[in-house]
């Protein structure tokens, strides 16, 4: 007899695999990766371009699909909650099902074009960089899936939740960096480097960027915060710090959403 979390997880996975959203997402990521890879000359440069894509598209898609799934799935949740299963298992089963299927779609979308590129002998693929890209994209997917559920569980109105989600995405991908840059320029006379590291940890999108850049030689070209992480923490500690912060970004919203779910009236 398997536990209820596993059963709910299995249902969610099965349900999502059947839906067209998920396969469309994998195809979208695949087409974009293939475009950057086959039209450019340098596979490493393509990986960096895919990174920029990951930073823009993956959070938005994870938030929007996560929310759409949450609302589409309310009937199932309501039905299961009247059965002899603990509430927590309904929540965690859904979160796992959502996070892992979105992650799977992303991995397939990125990996297939790179693998085909290598298999067709079109050039040397820098696999460690691709691996990093896969890892970072997976982390970003998990972070934003758990944020999506947090917003969904807390809001019965889907339009409102969707609005907040898009605002969150906009702030984290565009506004935050501009504010950080303004802060750096205004405070350039002071030793603020450590502050900048701390502030970029508050943004999962920045963390994702830093993580890949720490492992590329182009760090200095790609952004100030990446260079700072390398300078102050070094590659090893910088990576560990960024991964740890991303894990927190996944766990904390998920835990908060779980608490809200546990006390929610249906």
């Amino acid at each position: 007899m398997r536990g209820p979390v596993y059963k709910i997880f299995k249902y969610t996975l099965f349900d999502l695999l059947r839906s067209r959203w998920l396969s469309s997402y994998a195809v979208l990521i695949g087409l974009m990766t293939a475009g950057l890879l086959y039209l450019g000359d340098d596979p490493t440069q393509a990986a960096v371009s895919v990174l920029n894509l990951v930073i823009l598209v993956v959070p938005l898609v994870s938030l929007v699909l996560g929310l759409m799934y949450h609302y589409a799935n309310r009937d199932f949740a309501l039905l299961v909650l009247t059965q002899p299963v603990p509430r927590g298992s309904v929540f965690w089963g859904q979160l796992l099902g959502l996070g892992l299927s979105l992650t799977g779609a992303y991995l397939v979308g990125v990996l297939v074009p790179f693998a085909a590129f290598a298999a067709l002998g079109m050039g040397a693929v820098d696999w460690p960089t691709v691996g990093m890209l896969l890892f970072v994209g997976a982390m970003v997917t998990l972070v934003f899936s758990s944020l999506a559920l947090y917003l969904g569980v807390g809001n019965d109105e889907r339009v409102r939740a969707l609005g907040v989600a898009i605002a969150v995405w906009f702030v984290l991908t565009f506004v935050y960096d501009s504010l950080l840059l303004a802060f750096i320029i205004l405070a350039q006379a002071y030793p603020i480097d450590r502050w900048v590291i701390g502030l970029s940890m508050l943004n999962p999108v920045d963390l994702a960027r830093v993580l890949v850049l720490l492992h590329l030689d182009t760090a200095a070209l790609m952004g100030y915060t990446g260079a700072l992480f390398k300078k102050f923490l070094g590659t090893g500690l910088g990576t560990a710090a960024a991964v740890f912060a991303l894990v927190l970004w996944t766990v904390v919203p998920a835990w908060l959403a779980g608490r809200v779910f546990a006390r929610k009236d249906f």
Binding site: D75, L81, P84
Partner: protein, 234 residues
């Protein structure tokens, strides 16, 4: 047997249940009645654990039910407006619930046939009419032969045949010693099925007792008039 003790529920400033204590004995159909927004649904949902009470306790078969999801093994529930995952067929819905609850205690095909659901088994639930969804809900409520039935407006949308079959079934379960908690806006239906009545008004129990007691107290024979008297008096 279900008991609620000093059950309270607040939604912000609104007090939906103000310390409700009531007993739902086995072998009886207890109707929960009251005007709209009197707390009927909140009470039913609190017993099920869908609503988290602000205070008090629920006992199902003597076991404290809050924070104990296993008591729902003994409960069959029909919500007012049953909804199912849209892309799932009738058969799949039943299979998922079986996966959560274990092997059914009754013969599934017999239940499908009894409620006239057999022609719809391979249809996705989104194309089902309200009445057909209600039938699926009834099958799920009876399938595991629970000790307690919580039925929230169960016959709304059922055709006359399904409705009378449903009521026969409920009466039979009552005679087998099951606890039945029922709400309905159709007074003639309650008259037909109910043995006891719990009358709620603004989150408080105004009357709880046998139908006979209610008739004596109000001097009315017809349930509808008797309930109207209660509402007037309060």
């Amino acid at each position: 047997m279900v008991r609620v003790e000093e059950l309270t529920k607040r939604y912000g400033a609104l007090e939906a249940l103000k310390g409700v204590t009531a007993e739902f004995p086995p072998g009886k159909v207890t109707a929960v009645v009251g005007p709209n927004a009197s707390g009927k649904s909140t009470l039913m949902k609190s017993i099920l654990g869908l609503v988290v009470p602000s205070g008090g306790e629920v006992y199902v078969l003597g076991e404290p039910a809050r924070k104990n999801p296993r008591v729902r093994e003994h409960i069959g529930y029909m919500p007012q407006d049953p909804r199912f995952p849209e892309n799932t067929t009738v058969r799949e819905v039943v299979r998922w619930i079986e996966e959560l609850r274990g092997a059914p205690k009754l013969d599934l095909d017999e239940l499908f046939a009894y409620f006239g659901l057999s022609p719809h088994l391979d249809q996705p639930t989104r194309v089902l009419s309200g009445g057909t969804r209600q039938k699926l809900s009834a099958v799920l409520a009876f399938l595991f032969d629970p000790e307690v039935f919580i039925l929230d407006e169960p016959t709304a949308g059922l055709d006359p045949l399904a409705s009378s079959r449903f009521k026969d079934r409920v009466a039979a379960e009552r005679d087998r010693g099951k606890t039945v908690i029922l709400t309905s806006h159709v007074m003639s239906e309650l008259e037909e099925l109910a043995d006891r009545l719990v009358f709620l008004l603004e989150g408080e129990v105004v009357f709880a007792g046998d139908l006979e007691e209610l008739r004596e107290r109000t001097g009315e024979v017809r349930l509808e008039r008797a309930v109207a008297r209660l509402m007037e008096a309060s």
